[in-house]
């Protein structure tokens, strides 16, 4: 039995400052009921209809008067009440019988699932996740019509009451990783969580690693492809980004484009992307090492070109490189913050005008501009924004090492990096799989986009040599 007074007090305490909070006392069959909702979060017409149905049932004296398709009847608790109201539900409290009915029809603003801007693909679906969990689940279910698809909800954040949902395929999922993930979710003790980035911080294995341990995506096709692989998707409410785990380093280099294109084309671009990983990290370091330590590895003609380009630069190569890298980062930041037409202008102005001027002014050499520019290009090739920033960050320590020890520094640095990657886990799964643990048969799938349906031959009429063909034929 909840006292009427208690409810009113609670309402006053918690919601008095919200102008859109509405609490009304109604009398149904001579019983006082309280109707509460946020006027900004309900669709009045729809809720009204439900309300009338419930009232009719109640007044007719039906036993299960609270149960309709969109409402739920339960015992009143202050906690649940609070949560429901915040979620935009309409709640009818029956102080006499200590019951409440929730009408689960919140109206939440949501945009159209349009193509995500930072994960553009040439071919393939152009829909993207939005800031609404229901829409996102809808998008996934649309692509994956399987009863195996399971969605679990967790509520975290004492103040923000964020719903975090875990989505996976029961038949495919890596159960131990799932257990680890749930344990980590349960451990979270935070007041407010409102973005997937914050969630990621709580869920990651090694937070100080430069490498992301969850794949972030806003593309349903990418999410679905990973679901089928047995990965787990984590959505935080009102965030369009899906976190996917456990993942490997190489997942970041796979794009939905690979499988939308042809096998050879997809393989080629996957190789290009992997090469770009090494270019983006090592090229400036390599150049610095060559120019300041090992110039004898260049053939004499090349050496001559390099020399005449570097000869009048007043800085050491490392400062020259840092200057240009800094400039490129500036251009990048500036063009992100500005609306896209101006952003492009900034790119052109920064890239062409400043690049040209800096060479003309003798602050940096032509070659360094080429090196830094191609490195920047290589880093943008990665089809994942997090990895892209990681890669760009990683090249700075290598540049410093190269400027101090030449190749020796690069080698030591890359060994440390390799050990770090070996150590790294994503939901307790090896990050470098299938290279570590070494599975030679799976390695080719890193470098090549293999035919998706390799096991199903298309035609069996021309030749009957293949075993599969024969079997089927018989």
């Amino acid at each position: 039995m909840v006292s009427y007074k208690e409810i009113v007090e609670s309402l006053e305490n918690e919601f008095s400052q919200a102008f859109d909070f509405i609490a009304k006392e109604l009398v149904w069959n001579e019983e006082h009921v309280i109707l509460c909702y946020y006027s900004t979060m309900i669709d009045t017409a729809v809720v009204m209809e439900q309300l009338q149905t419930i009232q009719r049932k109640f007044e007719a004296g039906e036993a299960e008067y609270g149960q309709t398709a969109f409402s739920e009847e339960m015992t009143f608790t202050i906690k649940q009440f609070r949560e429901s109201i915040c979620n935009g539900e309409t709640v009818i409290v029956f102080p006499k019988t200590d019951k409440m009915i929730r009408i689960l029809l919140p109206k939440i603003a949501s945009r159209e699932p349009s193509s995500p801007e930072n994960e553009y693909v040439v071919r393939g679906g152009h829909d993207g996740f939005v800031e609404n969990l229901d829409v996102n689940i809808n998008l996934i279910r649309k692509k994956l019509k399987s009863p195996d698809l399971k969605i679990e909800k967790h509520t975290i954040g004492a103040k923000s009451n964020t719903t975090v949902s875990i989505i996976y395929l029961t038949t495919k999922v890596d159960n131990e990783a799932l257990k680890v993930l749930k344990a980590r979710l349960d451990r979270i003790e935070a007041e407010m969580i409102y973005s997937s980035g914050q969630l990621e911080d709580y869920l990651e294995d090694v937070i100080w690693s430069p490498f992301p341990q969850f794949l972030n995506t806003e593309r349903p096709d990418r999410a679905v492809a990973n679901l089928v692989d047995g990965k787990i998707i984590i959505f935080s409410d009102s965030d369009p980004t899906a976190l996917i785990g456990p993942i490997t380093l190489f997942t970041f280099y796979e794009s939905p484009d690979d499988f939308n294109g042809r096998v050879l084309v997809g393989s080629f671009y996957r190789l290009v992307r992997l090469a770009s990983f090494f270019t983006a990290i090592f090229l400036p370091a390599f150049y610095i090492a060559v120019v300041s330590f090992h110039f004898e590895i260049m053939p004499i003609d090349l050496g001559e070109q390099v020399k005449s380009s570097v000869a009048n630069i007043p800085f050491r190569p490392i400062f020259e490189a840092l200057l240009l890298e800094l400039l490129i980062e500036l251009i990048r930041e500036a063009s992100i913050r500005l609306p896209s037409p101006i952003g492009q202008t900034i790119g052109v102005v920064g890239g062409l005008v400043i690049g040209d001027a800096i060479v003309a002014a003798g602050l940096a050499s032509n070659l360094m501009v080429i090196v830094v520019a191609s490195t920047a290009l290589a880093s943008f090739v990665v089809p994942s924004v997090e990895m892209n920033t990681t890669v760009r960050l990683l090249r700075f320590p290598f540049m410093v090492l190269a400027s101090m020890f030449g190749f020796f520094g690069i080698v030591i640095g890359s060994m440390l990096l390799f050990i770090h990657l070996l150590n790294l886990q994503s939901l307790n799964r090896p990050y470098l799989s299938p290279i570590i643990p070494f599975e030679p048969t799976k390695i080719k799938s890193i470098f090549f986009r293999l035919p998706y349906y390799k096991q199903v031959p298309q035609q069996r009429n021309f030749y009957l040599f293949s075993k599969k063909g024969k079997k089927k034929h018989d």
């Binding site: 090992h294 080698v411 390799f418 570590i436 643990p437």
Partner: protein
């Protein structure tokens, strides 16, 4: 102590890197100096002998039970190997790439890699060798560039091996097999205790032998004998003389491949030692740091041409004892103990 296991492939990769590690650039000229055209024959003979040893190790590894003293003995042996290797690596780097950089910097950077790897999970040390697989291929490809310059007549005359060549040649060949005792340490951890077949051991030994014999033959056929006598790291010199249009100094790249290779073999030796330490004491982090510190200090006293050479000569006797005699002795001891237990 956390449990760890490894697969057959990991075991053999571990052994391969351990055994080739640092020595694989110097062993050729050592063997050829001792046995001239017969070097590769002697190498194959010694390799067969080690195959036999490995077979025995594999059959009776259960009797290889070390007591505390023996564990310390092995650890000291491995740390000594690490110290001599580090001295040698620095010496080579100094000659080929870094005349000015002080030794303590170079060595401590390499040791930091080892420290990091050994403070990490077990999986790191067991898997780190994988990074070398592409380098092995690159190395062999670089070597194959020299094929057109080989002089086949340098191979002859062979076959008549006098006793001096046998003794010297066998002695020098032993370098290629330093670290064979690691098999005994790792064997009990091989996954699901499956029988390790003789065939896979033979295959491993074949690959190892091929690797060394190919390099020995390349050196033998590329240089004249007089030349080999004055060049200590012939493989490097061989690569240096190769010309690629867009890259000069192939040897410089090879130096770093070899350095990676060596540093990883150092990691593996340290791992072996520390894994024995961890069987005795539960707390190991302080010791790990301490021993790495020690290992980075000691090589500084060894870096002169003579001392590097001498310490390598001493390693050979270490291998005779710790790689061959001592394990056999311990296994014999364990076998007798097990007989006694059976009787009781």
């Amino acid at each position: 102590m956390t449990k760890w296991t490894l697969s057959n492939k990991q075991l053999f990769l571990f052994l391969f890197i351990l055994q080739t590690g640092t020595v694989f650039i110097s062993v050729q000229s050592r063997v050829i100096k001792a046995a001239e055209q017969n070097s590769w024959l002697i190498f194959i003979a010694v390799s067969l002998f080690h195959l036999f040893i490995l077979h025995i190790f594999n059959k009776y590894y259960k009797y290889f039970q070390l007591n505390k003293f023996e564990k310390w003995l092995y650890q000291i042996y491995w740390y000594t190997i690490v110290v001599t290797f580090l001295a040698y690596i620095d010496f080579i780097l100094e000659v080929w790439a870094f005349p000015q950089t002080p030794a303590y910097i170079v060595i401590s950077l390499m040791v930091i890699v080892s420290l990091y790897a050994n403070l990490s999970k077990y999986a790191v040390a067991l898997n780190i060798s994988v990074i070398l697989i592409p380098f092995i291929v690159i190395f062999l490809a670089m070597l194959s560039l020299a094929t057109k310059d080989l002089i086949w007549t340098n191979l002859f005359p062979f076959g008549q091996i006098d006793s001096k060549q046998w003794i010297d040649g066998v002695g020098q060949t032993m370098y290629a097999f330093i670290g064979i005792e690691a098999f005994l340490i790792l064997r009990p951890f091989v996954e699901d205790k499956k029988e390790l077949k003789f065939r896979s051991i033979a295959l491993y030994q074949l690959i190892l032998t091929l690797f060394f014999v190919i390099t020995i033959l390349y050196v033998l056929l590329f240089f004249s004998l007089e030349e080999i006598k004055i060049i200590p790291v012939t493989i490097m010199y061989l690569l240096k003389s190769q010309e690629i249009t867009f890259l000069q100094r192939l040897d410089l790249f090879f130096t770093y491949i070899w350095m990676t290779w060596s540093v990883i073999s150092v990691v593996l030796f340290m791992f072996l030692g520390l894994s024995l330490y961890k069987t005795m004491y539960t707390r190991s982090i302080k010791f790990t740091v301490f021993i790495h510190f020690l290992v980075s200090i000691l090589p500084l006293f060894l870096i002169t041409r003579e001392l590097v050479k001498k310490s390598h000569d001493i390693l050979m006797y270490g291998h005779y004892f710790f790689g061959l005699l001592f394990p056999l002795f311990i296994m014999l001891k364990g076998w007798r103990k097990s007989l006694r237990e059976k009787k009781v």
